[in-house]
Point group: D2
Chain length 316, copies 4
C-alpha cells in the first residue's frame, strides 16, 4: 500500500538562522553489501561500511541526506548488471552521483572500508588457508568546469615483527657464553649465522594508502603483497608444527624495527608502482603491538611518490 | 639489586639500510595517571592515554623510544611539585623535552585524551549529578632558532538532538486534526506554540577543538559549556520524573539538525573567545546517533577563527 | 616445495607440571568466509568470527590447536559441495569433528557470530533497502555412549523505542493546555487519541537466543521478525520524508519501556515456536541507548520455554 | 529555581499488559568517580563503569531506574566521609540499598570495572614506572529472612608469554647445528642450558576472579601479583636496553602455553588464599594474542576452590 503523495514541508531547503558554510554534511557508518569485479582478480562480495559527505552552502539549513542513500543504492544496483569497478572506483562513482543530486554542493566525499578474505598457503606443509585483511578506499569529486575526481585505496595487513635491538644483545650474550665454554671463534661465527638468537616479537600492523587522480589504476593486490613482505614474517591462521618452526626461524632471521618496516614498504612502492605519477600521495604506517609493553610502537611516512622516488634513488 | 653497567649495542643509532626520512616515530596508547592544576578550575586527576612522536632523519635506523617515557615521566613528576598546567600545556611541556632528548629530531608531537567528570544539577529537582565528558589535547614543538609550540585543546560532549523536519510534518498533522475537529485557528496557534509535537530524537555528540600558538590560553570549561548548550537539550545521568518531562519539553522546543548544532557552536565560539587570534584553527563536529536509522548523521566545519568571524559578522 | 617430514617434538602431549583439568582450551577471534544454505531462505555468504574450544584432561600439557582449524576447514570445504546447514548446524558439525580429532576431550564447543544483510521495504514509499542484523550461533558436543549435541541460535536487531512515561506527562500537559484554551473534553479526547504527544525515543537493541537439542530446527528468520516487531517501530537505512513521518507516528503510538520489549518478545516466542520442546532455553534482552542519558536501560528474561509458556498462558 | 511538586503519573507502577517476571532490569554503562579506601593499600580514585540491576515481578510494568542512581550516589557520598570499602564491598553496599529502595525486587546485582594504576620497578635499571591493570567487582543481594550477599572481585593483567613448542624445535635445530660444527655434547648441553633459543612470544592477558560470601576478604593486590607472576615474564611501560634484554631472557627461560599460565595461576591461588572457604568460586582465564596468528589462544578453568584444592593436593 503506497501512501498518497502529499505536500510535505522541506525544512532542509530553508535559510538557516546562522548562515554559515559547512565543510562536510552527511552520514557515517552505513553498511552495504557490495559486489566488486576487479581488474586483476576474481569478483568479491564485501560487507562494507561507508561514510558519505557533501559540503553545504551558507544559505541552506540542511542537506537532504536520503539522497546519499539513493546515490549509493543506484550505483550498487547498476554494478550487479555491469560490474566493472575497483573499490575506489565504486567510491568515485558514488561521489559523482552525489554532485549531481546535491545541486548546491561543490564537493562530495565517499569513504569505504571492509574486511577482505585472501587465500594463502602455509610455508612448510603448503596447506591452503584463509587470511583476513582490512581494505579501504576514498574518493572526492570536486565540481568545476569539468568534474575532478581524486581517489585513494589502501590496506592494513597483520604480520610478525622481531626486535633487532634485543636480539643483538642476546647474540652478544650467546657469543660470550660460547667463548667461555672454549668454543672456537670460527665455529661461533658459523653457528650464530645459522641459528638466530631470541628476541621479543609481536603482531605488527602495516598500512599503505595511495591517492591518485581518477584515470590511474592502483593494484590493491600489489599493496597487500608489499605489506605482507615488509615485516619479519607473514602470519598464518593455520600452522602445523613444521610451519610454526619455519615462521619462527624466518622472523628471527629478519628482525625489524617499526622504522625498518616503513622504509621497506616505501622502497617496494617505488619499485612496484613505476607507472604512477609523481603527485600520487603515499601514506605508510607500521604499528607494533609490543609484547614487552602494554603500548604500541609506531612509525609513519607521508609524502608524494615523487619525493619518495628522489630519496630512494639518491641512495643507489 | 642493580645490574652492573655493561656495554650494550645501540642498534638504533646505526645507519639504516634504506636511508629514508620518517614523518613520525614513537609510541601510542600509553596510559598515565596525570594531575593537572587548571587556571579556571580545581585540580583534577585523570587516567590519560598518550601518543608521543618525533620525526627521524634518514641516517638513523631507529628512535630511542624509551626517551619518550623519560620525558613524560619527568614532566609528570615535576607537576606534582609545581602543578601549573592545562592539559595542552602538559602536552607542550612534554613536546619541548622530547626535542631536547632526541637531538636528531626536528619535530615532536604529543597527544592525550581522557575522560573527565563534571558536576551538574538536574533541571527541575536540582539534584547534583556527575557527568562524563571526553577531553583531549595536542602539542607540536618545532625546532628552529627559537622553539615554536602549537597546541590544541578540545572536548566531546553528549546531548539530545530532536529533528526539526519530522516535527514540522507532525505539527501539520496535528493542525489538520484540530481543524477537522472544529477547533478555532487562534486556539490551534496558541496550543501549538505552547505544546511541541513529537519527532525522533537521539544521542548527539558535539566536538570542538581549538588550536593556537603556545602563548594563548583556551578555556576547556568554556568549550564544554558551548557544546552542552548547542544541542536541543543537555542530557543527565540522574533524572526524576519531573526532570525527565522538563528535558523532553526543552528538547522538543529546540529541534536541531546536525547542521544547526555545528552552526550554533560556531557562533558561540566567535562570541565567547574574543581574545583568541584570527589564525586559531577551529574544528567543530556534530554526530547524531539517529534513532530512526542504524547509521549516524554528521556535520563538520573546519576553518580559521578569522574566517568564522568574517562569516558570522557579515550576517549581522 | 614441500619440506621433508622430520621428527618434531610434540610438547603438547607431555605431562604438565601442574596436572589440572582445564574447562576450555582453544582459539578465539578466528575469521572465516562461510557459505550457508538455509532451510527457509536463499543461501548466504558470511564473514564469520569463530571461538572454538575443547576441554583438556589433567595429564596433557596442551591441546593441539591446529586441529581446531583442520576441523573447521574440513567442514567449510564439504559445505561447498553439499550445503545443507543452518549456522547452528555448522557449529554442531565442527563440534562433532573436534570430539573426533581431540581424542582426549570430553566436550567441544563452537561459537560463531556474523553480520547478516536482510532486505526490507520503507513503510510509506515502499523503496527497497538493505538492513544489517547481527546473528550468532553456538554448539556443544558432549562425548558419551552417544554423542550429545546442544545448539543455540540468535540475533540482535536495532529498532526504535519511545518512552511511555515521559509521553504520559506530556499528554497531561497538552490536555491541561487545551482545557485552559477552552477546548471541549470530547474534542480533546479525540485529538489526543489521533495525535501522539512527544517523548524521548532512541535506538533500541533487541536480542533473542534459543538453545535446543540437535534434532530441532529454530528459524532464524522468525527470531529476527519477532525482535523487529517488539519495539516501538522498526528502523530503516533509507527514509524519504513521508516514510520518516510514518515511522515517527508509529513509534509514538506504540511507546515501550525496555521491560515491555522483553515481555512482547517473550509472548511472540511462545506463539510462534509451538513446535519447540519445553526444555528449550530462551534468553531475551533489550538494551535502550537512552537519548536523555549517557547510560543504557536494560531488561532481560532468561528461562526455559516451558516456564515462559506457563507464565504467558496463566494470563489468558 | 525548584519546580513546584506536582502530581506526575507513575506509569512504571502500572500492571503490564503481559504480566511476566523479568530476570534483570536496570542500567548499564554508568560512569562514576569513586574513592575507595582499601584494607591492604592506600586509597584510590577511580573512574568506574557500573551495571546495576534488580529483578521485576510480573505485576509491575517497569522498575524505577532513577532509584538505582540514588542508591549509588548515596553510597558514593557516604564513602567520602567514612571510606572503609573494597570495590566489591562498594558493590555489595549499593546492592543492599537497591533491595531497600526497590521494595518489589528479590535480587539486586551491581557490577563495576575500572582501570587501576599500579607502581612497578624496571627489572635491571630499577626505574619506577606506572602500569595499568583492569579491575572489576560484582555483588548480588538476595532478599530473604536475612539479606544474603555474594560478592566477586578480579583483575586482568597483561604480560609476556613465550611458546614452549616452537622453542623446543629451535633448540633441536641449534643442537644439530652445533653437532655438525663438531662441538662436544657436554659443551652443547651447557650452552643450551645457559642461553635460551628463540620462539614466538606475545602479549598475554591473564584474568582471575574470586567469588565469596560477604564476610570474607579477598585481596585484590594478591590477585594482581599472581597473574603477573604466572606468565613467561611481566611487561613494563619503560624499559632501558639492559631491562629489555633481562625481560627477553627471563621470558625465554620460562616458556609457557596458555594452558600452563592457567594451571600456574590455579596453583598459586590454592597456596596464597588458604583462608578462603571451599565454596569460593574461582575463574581463571588466559588469552594470548599470538604473534604468529591473527587469532588468539585461550584457556580457562572454572570451579570451586574446594575442587581446585583437591586436584592440586592430590598431585603432591
Amino acid at each position: 500500500m503506497k501512501l498518497p503523495v502529499v505536500y510535505l514541508p522541506d525544512i532542509q531547503a530553508n535559510q538557516p538562522e546562522i548562515p554559515l558554510t559547512l565543510t562536510r554534511v552527511g552520514v557515517t557508518d552505513v553498511k552495504k553489501l557490495v559486489e566488486v569485479a576487479r581488474r586483476d582478480k576474481r569478483p568479491i562480495v564485501l560487507v562494507s561500511t561507508f561514510d558519505i559527505f557533501v559540503d553545504l552552502p551558507s544559505d541552506r539549513k540542511g542537506a537532504n541526506l536520503s539522497r546519499n542513500f539513493e546515490a549509493i543504492d543506484e550505483v550498487l544496483e547498476e554494478m550487479i548488471k555491469a560490474p566493472v569497478f575497483e573499490i575506489e572506483d565504486l567510491c568515485g562513482e558514488v561521489a559523482k552521483r552525489l554532485i549531481h543530486r546535491h545541486e548546491y554542493a561543490l564537493n562530495a566525499e565517499v569513504r569505504m572500508k571492509s574486511e577482505y578474505i585472501i587465500k594463502r598457503e602455509t610455508p612448510a606443509t603448503k596447506i591452503k588457508c584463509q587470511e583476513v585483511v582490512n581494505i579501504f578506499a576514498e574518493a572526492r569529486a570536486i565540481r568545476g568546469e569539468e568534474l575532478e575526481i581524486r581517489k585513494m585505496v589502501g590496506a592494513e595487513v597483520l604480520g610478525i615483527t622481531a626486535c633487532p635491538c634485543a636480539q643483538e644483545i642476546m647474540r652478544d650474550k650467546a657469543k660470550k657464553e660460547l667463548i667461555a665454554l672454549g668454543v672456537e671463534k670460527d665455529v661461533i661465527r658459523k653457528f650464530l649465522s645459522a641459528v638466530p638468537m631470541p628476541t621479543h616479537n609481536q603482531r605488527g600492523r602495516g598500512i599503505i594508502s595511495i591517492e591518485v587522480y581518477d584515470s590511474h589504476f592502483v593494484s590493491l593486490e600489489r599493496i597487500i603483497n608489499i605489506i605482507e613482505n615488509s615485516m619479519s614474517s607473514q602470519m598464518f591462521e593455520l600452522l602445523k608444527r613444521s610451519d610454526e618452526a619455519a615462521i619462527v626461524e624466518l622472523a628471527h632471521k629478519h628482525p625489524k624495527f617499526v622504522e625498518d618496516c616503513v622504509r621497506t614498504m616505501a622502497q617496494k612502492i617505488v619499485m612496484e608502482f613505476p607507472e604512477l605519477p609523481d603527485d600520487s600521495i603515499i601514506t605508510i604506517k607500521q604499528i607494533n603491538e609490543e609484547s614487552i609493553h602494554r603500548h604500541n610502537a609506531f612509525a609513519e611516512r607521508k609524502s608524494t611518490l615523487g619525493e619518495l622516488r628522489q630519496e630512494i634513488n639518491s641512495i643507489c
